[in-house]
């Protein structure tokens, strides 16, 4: 370690006193660092202020106005919030979004975890399986896959052609209010590869000795899973859960393409971000859309906070 490094450690530890010369050297080093930090962080800081915090504050202000892009915004107080209370489509949008998130995220994680466990046993061809299962996660967010889904689950699509082989006449899945959301849930589950890869990395960090010790003590596979794997993997499960929830609350493309931008049939796929788009960018009700954006932020924040609170009871940190 260099002289400066030693000085830093010394001053940080609080033990031992530095000579005046050493203090001066450290001070010089700090001012050098600060100047460099100003340069290195300049783009990020500009972005934080100009592209993130500024717009955030503006969005908060707009949420209390009737802004429509063409005229200057008027402050309307709580009108947008009152409007939310009586907004039937907002209710449907919340229902669709919550159903989607609450159903598809746990299923996706369960499938991801199950396959990660299967792949973790030093199986032959691991790399090939992993790649094949991971591929859909990369393509899943694209318009092309949403188009594919619309056709696969259409009245004469692939799914019904399959069912037809068994003499079953399936519904037009994407055109029925009862099943349209389900097709989007299937699409989301289909992209389980990304959390699966994270699970795989987590599984590798569990020392093999734990399992050897457990089987010596006569623990069977199920007990080993419950007493070793799941507790040690719980921080990763938590990580995937938080990321999955935050991401799926913001889903847009799939619902937009499958419903042709309408959120239909009967608003059954009217995801929150789709409704926000309709209000703001199609209806030019930017004030109301800003209020919706803040509602989304509050909902995501609440879910994330709830998650962190609940994690005390099931997430196990060994360090």
């Amino acid at each position: 370690m260099s002289a400066i490094g030693e000085l830093r450690t010394l001053s940080r530890s609080g033990r031992g006193s530095l000579t005046a010369d050493q203090k001066a050297a450290l001070k010089k080093e700090r001012s050098r660092d600060s100047k460099a930090a100003a340069v290195f962080l300049a783009p990020w800081l500009l972005g934080l202020v100009g592209i993130t915090i500024g717009p955030m504050l503006a969005s908060l202000y707009l949420a209390f106005t009737d802004y429509n892009l063409l005229q200057d915004p008027n402050f309307v107080g709580l009108e947008n919030i009152q409007r939310m209370v009586g907004d039937e489509r907002l209710g449907k949008s919340l229902a669709a979004t919550l159903t989607y998130v609450v159903v598809s995220v746990p299923i996706q994680l369960a499938v991801a975890l199950g396959l990660a466990l299967l792949l973790d046993r030093g199986i032959r061809g691991l790399a090939l399986y992993r790649s094949m299962l991971y591929l859909p996660s990369l393509l899943g967010a694209s318009v092309a896959i949403a188009v594919l889904w619309r056709l696969v689950f259409g009245g004469e699509g692939l799914v019904n052609a399959f069912l037809g082989l068994f003499g079953i006449q399936g519904p037009a899945w994407v055109a029925e209010p009862d099943t349209a959301l389900g097709t989007l849930i299937v699409l989301h589950v289909w992209t389980f590869g990304a959390p699966m890869v994270i699970f795989l990395a987590g599984l590798r960090q569990i020392p093999r000795q734990y399992y050897d010790a457990a089987s010596t003590d006569g623990a069977n596979k199920w007990q080993q899973l419950r007493k070793i794997t799941l507790p040690l993997l719980s921080p990763i499960i938590f990580f995937n859960l938080v990321l999955g929830l935050i991401g799926s609350f913001q889903s847009f493309t799939q619902a937009f393409i499958v419903s042709n931008g309408s959120g239909g049939p009967a608003d059954s796929t009217l995801f929150f971000s789709l409704y926000l788009y309709q209000e703001g960018f199609a209806g030019f009700r930017m004030g109301y859309a800003s209020a919706l954006a803040w509602l989304l932020l509050i909902i995501i924040g609440a879910f994330t906070a709830l998650n962190f609170w609940a994690s005390k009871y099931w997430v196990f940190y060994d360090d």
């Binding site: 600060s34 592209i51 967010a141």
Partner: protein, 299 residues
């Protein structure tokens, strides 16, 4: 990184007697595991394969045959789809490539600079700045997009690619800053302190010591930025409304409206074309990609 160091704990590489016994006992469950995995993989990839084959058969055969065997090869969907919109599809590919290139360069430059500062420099309010950076990862784009739209409209940037690229130049993809900070922290400090002693300043340490060692993190950033920008629909839909400037996702959406009733084959064909770049990046970059995604999940 972590995955590599830990790979040595794989039971097959461990010396000793235990693995032989276990291997014998486990044979049957392993066959079952393979059967299960192959089944899952087939189901997962089937829709993709069906899309490719559908783009190669005549329209009237697409929905009558769920199978993957093609009776009559019909390559005409590709030229038809390519020329179906007001401009050939190639020009939308080029537009997307431009946006992707700008985004990749932007993220590489700005995020690595910020990461160096967070990982290596001491400055006031560092903790606050770092926390702010982490918080922006979780911020939904919806809270920002309306004021951003207004702002970009006022400075005349709507229907240019600037609203898509400039934020990347300003390190607003904080996820990559975080990824790189984690990576730089893993590089031994002795290396840059040695360069210090040789008289190098922070600019030289960053450019000549840290950046060359960051290649895996930079590769991960490049690949993810490529794929996410290529797939991004929401912001491209909002900021680009001039049909001549459409990027691939927006053009493809336009295509559905134009074609949906009759020419499914052409729709499939252009969907396939739009996925090829992502597929290629996946093919060549998956080593970095899987490692990158794995390290983000580490504790």
């Amino acid at each position: 990184m972590t995955t590599e160091t830990l790979a040595t704990t794989d039971p097959t590489t461990e010396p000793g007697k235990a693995p032989l016994v276990i291997k014998h006992r486990r044979r049957r469950p392993r066959v079952l595991a393979h059967v299960g995995l192959i089944l899952v993989a087939v189901v997962m990839l089937y829709p993709l394969l069906w899309m490719v084959t559908s783009s190669l058969r005549p329209n009237d055969e697409i929905f009558t045959s769920p199978g993957l065997l093609i009776d009559t090869f019909d390559l005409s969907h590709y030229p038809d789809g390519w020329n179906a919109l007001s401009k050939p599809f190639g020009s939308y590919l080029l537009n997307s490539a431009l946006v992707v290139l700008g985004s990749v360069v932007g993220n590489l430059v700005s995020c690595s600079m910020a990461a160096y500062a967070f990982a290596r420099l001491q400055f006031r309010a560092k903790t606050v700045a770092f926390a702010a950076m982490l918080l922006t990862i979780m911020l939904p784009v919806h809270v920002l997009i309306i004021p951003q739209y207004v702002m970009f409209a006022q400075i005349g940037w709507i229907n240019t690619y600037l609203p898509l690229i400039v934020p990347k130049l300003l390190a607003t993809d904080a996820f990559f800053v975080f990824l790189m900070v984690q990576f730089v922290r893993g590089i031994p400090r002795e290396l840059d302190e040695a360069a210090r002693i040789d008289g190098a300043g922070h600019a030289r340490i960053f450019l000549q010591v840290i950046l060359p060692l960051m290649v895996p993190a930079l590769a991960t950033t490049t690949i993810f930025t490529f794929i996410w920008t290529w797939n991004d629909f929401f912001s491209q839909l909002i900021f680009v409304t001039d049909p001549d400037l459409y990027t691939v996702p927006v053009a493809l959406r336009q295509f559905i409206d134009a074609q949906s009733q009759s020419d499914f084959g052409a729709l499939f064909a252009m969907s396939v074309v739009s996925l090829i770049p992502v597929f290629l990046v996946f093919l060549f970059g998956q080593r970095f990609l899987l490692r990158g995604i794995a390290t983000t999940g580490g504790k």
